[in-house]
Amino acid sequence: MTVLSCKNIISMEDLTPDDIVAILDTAESFKEVNERRIKKLPTLRGRTIINLFLEPSTRTRTSFEIAAKRLSADAINMAGSASATVKGESLRDTAKTLSAMACDLIVVRHKYAGAPQVLAESMDACVVNGGDGMHQHPTQALLDLFTMRRHVGDLAGKTVGIVGDIAHSRVAGSLVPALRMVGAHPIVIGPPTLMPARPDVLGADVAYTLDEVIEELDIVYTLRIQMERAEGMPFPSLREYARFYGMNEARLNRMKPEGIVMHPGPMNRGVEVSSAVADSERSVVLDQVNAGVAVRMAIMYLLLGGEAHGDAA
């Protein structure tokens, strides 16, 4: 079996293209397991995985928890508030505490960028970033690649439009480099008020309207719009946003004929995606959720060097 080149997955840059292929291929076999009546494998029996979620999350945490349990690992969820000021403990102390519990792998979801990296630097267990601030969310990018690959085949040369709040999106933060690593062409699309200062350094082209690039797109990846913002709305209204950036049937018909529509969830219907598109057969949103469990199983399995790979096949 293939072993990954890294001990931690904090950002997409930790992975090589070969690592990505290994994860996606391994996830394929776990996906089959997930379709069986008995979905549990003994692979990680006796290993301990902690889901440290210091920011509210239901979907991602549940996905990691199911993945760990299907591999027979002991999965423990720890929740809390994000900040040391509230929690009364520094990241380094958290790392030491978890190390003292002798766990094997920590999944960290954190409100602030860089926290998983700081944790990883002071502990022996493997660390997987479950999303940190506005920085990265690598397991989401990997499950998205998995879903894309199943629907459009080889991603080399494919054009992916990522639409919406690029500036504040850790999903985009990982997906753009992930797409570059597999040879795809990412375009980030949104009003300048939702763009990071330098999208070029992530490796993306930029478009300020969806209509100017829609015909080129093999995949439209819509991001969730946050309805409440401390610093004021970055666009005039949801109605205007939907008009210029919403994925609707008219735009669906203009993209590449076999093109698909994705969303990391939860969707604001009528804003990022119209209901008709969300429910169409070209929307693969539920496939993404399904892939999440298989991909996270693959990551845990490969990082912890699980044995008896044959069980999965």
């Binding site: 960028a113 850790r170 200062a197």
Partner: protein, 430 residues
């Protein structure tokens, strides 16, 4: 007490001095400068061969943290750190707890400094009451108690009308307003320079324009009011350009740059090391080059450290939550010697210009020179002394240095304040 500094290279551009000679100090004053001076009976002789003797260095921007955060720094530890770094005086910023915004609080600092300080402490008072930007602080009262300048450092005065009013008022006292330029509406929750690194790290950006807009505004207000303005910690190429233009027009302003903005840029940040989180943030390599150019051509008057001690438990927080600031008063001179003198960018006279005369001129402090009759505030530098910046090396109570791990060349071997040793043989005098 009589002291003879023998055989050092005396460098002071203010009196057109650069030669190997002796310097005799009597009663806290330079009594004689010349070659082969006779040593009177009972004189203390300090051999200064291969060393450089400069007018005493001044840090125009220091956070002593007392009162309020004595766990981070005190007047005693901060002045020891200053001496260790080669400084004979510091200008203490008012954002303590409570904020130094009345005469009695200035008097506390002056008295504390006379009891515990080992270098001179020049208090900076708050511009507005409580640094809230709403009401003019008691500037006259503070001057009467010893304040040398006024600043809401740590925050910019957000309202242009308020800034105009306070500059108008301060002008009557002939004092200096020190501006921390930061438009909070543009900075928002920004913690690093807005650009490539903020994008890569996924953190909110602090754009250069948020500094430059207030730099431009305050230059205009200096022209409007005639108040003397000093611009704190310039960090961007655009700010340097504004200052250069203003000086060309003859506006009476001065400006400072910190060692960290001169010797580091945002590319150092990819590690999420909170010791590299400062306000203003580290900028781009291009900004850094422009700051250096401005320092060399005289657009920027002085290097000021913005020495900002912070407790380790606060710096160990998440990057976005950790407080802004790096210590710097102990490494500034060594960095300048290593990075500027060592590379030929600077002559020793430039060191005196930006670390001794520039700060004094910027804040209207009494001039100090190496000429006979001057007060004997003197920094002797050993250019070959090796410095390894490790946590145990600091005199400061805090260790949050952006330069931890650096190996540097050049350090103050003697520091004299009014003729008395604060540092002797490289060690702080107890």
């Amino acid at each position: 007490m009589v002291t003879l500094l023998r055989g050092g290279r005396l460098v002071d551009p203010a009196v057109d001095l650069d030669r190997v000679a002796d310097l005799l100090i009597r009663d806290g004053v330079i009594a004689e400068v010349g070659e082969g001076l006779e040593a009177p009976a009972g004189v203390l002789i300090v051999e200064c061969a291969e060393k450089v003797v400069l007018p005493g260095l001044v840090d125009a921007h220091t956070h002593l943290r007392e009162p309020g955060r004595e766990d981070e720094e005190t007047v005693e530890s901060g002045t020891r750190a200053a001496a260790h770094g080669g400084f004979t005086a510091v200008c203490a910023m008012p954002n303590t707890d409570p904020i130094c915004d009345t005469g009695s609080k200035v008097r506390f600092l002056v008295e504390r400094a006379s009891e515990r300080g080992i270098v001179r402490v020049h208090p900076i008072g708050s511009l507005t009451s409580g640094q809230r930007g709403e009401v003019i602080a008691e500037i006259g009262d503070m001057i009467a108690e010893g304040a040398v300048g006024f600043s809401d450092d740590g925050r910019g005065v957000q309202d242009a009308g308020m800034m105009r009013r306070v500059m108008d008022y301060a002008k009557a006292f002939g004092t200096t307003v020190i501006s921390h330029c930061e438009d909070e509406a543009l900075v928002g929750s920004g913690v690093v320079n807005e650009g490539a690194v903020s994008t890569r790290l996924g953190m909110a950006g602090w754009p250069a324009a948020a500094e430059e807009i207030q730099v431009a505004r305050d230059i205009r207000l200096a022209e409007l009011t005639g108040c003397r303005l000093h611009l704190a910690h310039l960090s961007t190429a655009g700010s340097v350009a504004h200052v250069r233009d203003a000086k060309a027009r003859g506006v009476g302003i001065t400006a400072e740059v910190t060692p960290h903005h001169l010797f580091l840029d945002e590319d150092a940040l990819l590690s999420y090391d909170t010791n590299l989180k400062m306000n203003p943030p580290l900028r781009t390599a291009e900004d850094r080059a422009a700051l250096l150019e401005g320092l060399v051509d005289g657009t920027i008057d002085c290097i000021a450290t913005d020495h900002a001690p912070h407790a380790p438990h606060e710096k160990e927080m998440e990057f976005e939550l950790a407080p802004f600031g790096t210590t710097g008063i102990e490494t500034a001179l060594s960095l300048v010697v290593t990075e500027l003198v060592g590379t030929g960018t600077f002559e020793w006279s430039d060191v005196a210009r930006v670390m001794a005369h520039g700060p004094r001129r910027s804040l209207g402090l009494e001039a100090v020179t190496l000429a006979e009759g001057s007060v004997a505030d003197i920094t002797v530098v050993d250019p070959e002394a090796r410095v390894e910046v490790v946590p145990g090396w600091f005199e400061s109570r805090s260790r949050n240095s952006a330069f931890l791990g650096r190996k540097l060349l050049g350090k103050a071997s003697e520091v004299l304040v009014g003729g008395a040793f604060a540092v002797r043989n490289g060690k702080v005098v107890d």
